[in-house]
């Protein structure tokens, strides 16, 4: 199956998604996530959830899935937008076990909750910590460049 054919098939099945021009990623609404991933796994042969991550776009969060189909040799990038006032979406761990730790990592670093995840705990940072380090508004130690830019002196 050709790459464009796969995208057309997905589009025919779910008309309310659109394909991002620049990255060839498929952007889907949050509510349609489970329906689409079940379709992708069971009917399109995407047996491998290669990577799950998130990007903080300041006004919203973007959860990015990289799904791979060994039979079609095709990597599909799936994006789900999550608004800041409702940082939660369905977990895909029941379909792909590999998503378990990857979703925990996104939860740990971005604070996005995955509903129906079997064991949603922080994976790297301490459990009692309340910050989410990969969010853009999280500032850790002031970095050297920032200090120089602001004219601050080193201690």
């Amino acid at each position: 199956m050709q790459n464009s054919e796969i995208l057309t098939q997905i589009k025919n099945k779910f008309p309310d998604l659109f394909v991002e021009e620049q990255s060839n990623a498929v952007v889907i609404p949050k509510t349609a996530l489970l329906g689409i991933v079940y379709f992708l796994k069971n009917e399109m042969g995407f047996t491998n959830c290669h990577c799950v991550t998130a990007v903080d776009r300041k006004d919203k969060m973007e959860v990015v899935y990289h799904l791979y189909s060994f039979s079609n040799h095709f990597m599909l990038t799936l994006k789900v937008m999550v608004t800041l006032d409702d940082l939660a979406l369905e977990s895909v761990t029941p379909l792909w076990r590999s998503a378990d730790w990857l979703e925990r990592e996104v939860f740990d670093l971005f604070g996005i909750k995955f509903l129906n995840h079997p064991d949603l705990r922080r994976i790297m940072n301490p459990d009692e910590w309340t910050d989410y380090p990969l969010r853009k508004d999280f500032k850790g130690r002031i970095l050297f460049q920032d200090r120089r830019r602001k004219g601050l002196k080193d201690k």
Binding site: S23, C51, H66, W101
Partner: protein, 363 residues
């Protein structure tokens, strides 16, 4: 069933290959469940990436899988080059292949040595492996001045040409290592005790492996003929003739044997590449500061599996987001499933056969 109890294996433990903490619920000698706790080596490298220019971040990739720094440099540089459409001189491409494969050889040597050590073959195999590794580490030291963290592969090429005489050193090493591989097979692979300890232990089926997104030697040991170097060739890998070794049973022994087979294939690639290095300058004349836009995902075949870099750029000097999809992270995810119902000594065997490096799991 007797009384259940918990064994805390790690974080400081000789056979966890770094600071990994496993919480094992035991019934006598049998492992009922295993809960890995990560994060002891977490440095938030992905956040650091957002505060460094594209070039400044290369040394940090050395600290991911510190046994295969060249491969990490390569994966990151290829991702940036793909994002920014930077061409690489042909000489640099061949040298990159040679460096990546040499690093694969020494990474597998460490895996073999430590695995044998985990099984109780105290010191001898480990010292043999490190003796061979030392030759390449010294060569890398000559080339780029580092023994463990190289920072040699740069965006658009390399940091410098290899010194004169390198080709001969590598040719001698190939001849030497081929002889050593026979010795490893005699010492370990078909040793009766070694077979008894590692055969039919920690069997990973194809479906489970793909479902857990396991990659690299672990996936191939389960019988999936899958290698990014063949499927989505990068650099000049499509010009070389090499095989993808696969296992049949997917047990700990297969994962071990596969690494020996892969060393042989890597030596074949190096042999072909070294005879075909074009003349020219491997250092390309690109700027040190870049502005990128858009996003890209690039994965390369690391010794441990597929290393992916997901780069998002917003036109600034620094990446907007840099996600590192590390192979050991996904491979370790399959551990709880593999050790369920095994003896605790076999659990150590399974963990050793996964060949993990905590530097890239915790990041």
């Amino acid at each position: 069933m007797g009384e259940l109890f918990t064994v805390n294996m790690g974080p400081q433990h000789p056979s966890t290959h770094g600071v990994l903490y496993l919480e094992l619920v035991m019934d006598g000698e049998i492992v009922l469940s295993c809960k890995p706790h990560l994060g002891y080596l977490h440095r938030s490298i992905e956040k650091i990436a957002e505060n460094r220019t594209y070039t400044q971040f290369i040394p940090f990739t050395d600290r991911l899988d510190y046994l295969a720094s060249m491969n990490n440099n390569l994966g990151y540089c290829l991702a940036v080059e793909k994002l920014l459409n930077i061409a690489v001189p042909p000489r640099a491409q061949y040298l990159r292949v040679i460096m990546a494969e040499l690093n694969r050889v020494i990474s597998h040597l460490v895996a073999i040595g430590t695995f044998a050590q985990d099984l109780g073959a105290y010191a001898t195999p480990l010292f043999y492996a490190f003796r061979d590794r030392e030759k390449i580490v010294e060569l890398f030291d000559e080339i780029c001045g580092g023994r463990l963290t190289y920072n040699y592969i740069r965006i658009g090429g390399l940091s410098g040409d290899v010194p004169a005489g390198t080709e001969q050193v590598i040719k001698d090493f190939i001849k030497y290592e081929r002889k050593q591989l026979v010795e490893y097979n005699e010492l370990l692979t078909y040793n009766v005790i070694f077979l008894a300890r590692s055969k039919k232990i920690g069997i990973l089926t194809q479906e489970t492996a793909i479902n857990y997104s396991v990659t690299g030697p672990m996936l191939r040991a389960s019988g999936v003929k899958w290698d990014i170097r063949k499927e989505e060739p990068y650099l000049v890998y499509d010009k070389f003739d090499f095989d993808i070794p696969t296992g049949t049973a997917g047990d700990a022994w297969d994962r071990f044997k596969l690494k020996l087979d892969e060393i042989e294939q890597s030596l074949r690639i190096i042999e072909q590449a070294i005879g075909a290095i074009p003349e020219g300058n491997p250092v390309s004349k690109v700027n040190r500061v870049f502005r990128g836009s858009g996003e890209t995902y690039m994965r390369t075949e690391n010794p441990k599996g597929e290393l992916g870099f997901y780069l998002v750029a917003d036109g600034g000097l620094m990446p907007y987001r840099c996600k590192i999809r590390s192979p050991s992270f996904s491979n370790l995810g399959a551990l709880p499933e593999l050790v369920k119902g095994l003896n605790i000594s076999d659990a150590v065997c399974v963990l050793g056969s996964l060949d993990i490096v905590m530097g890239e799991i915790d990041r």
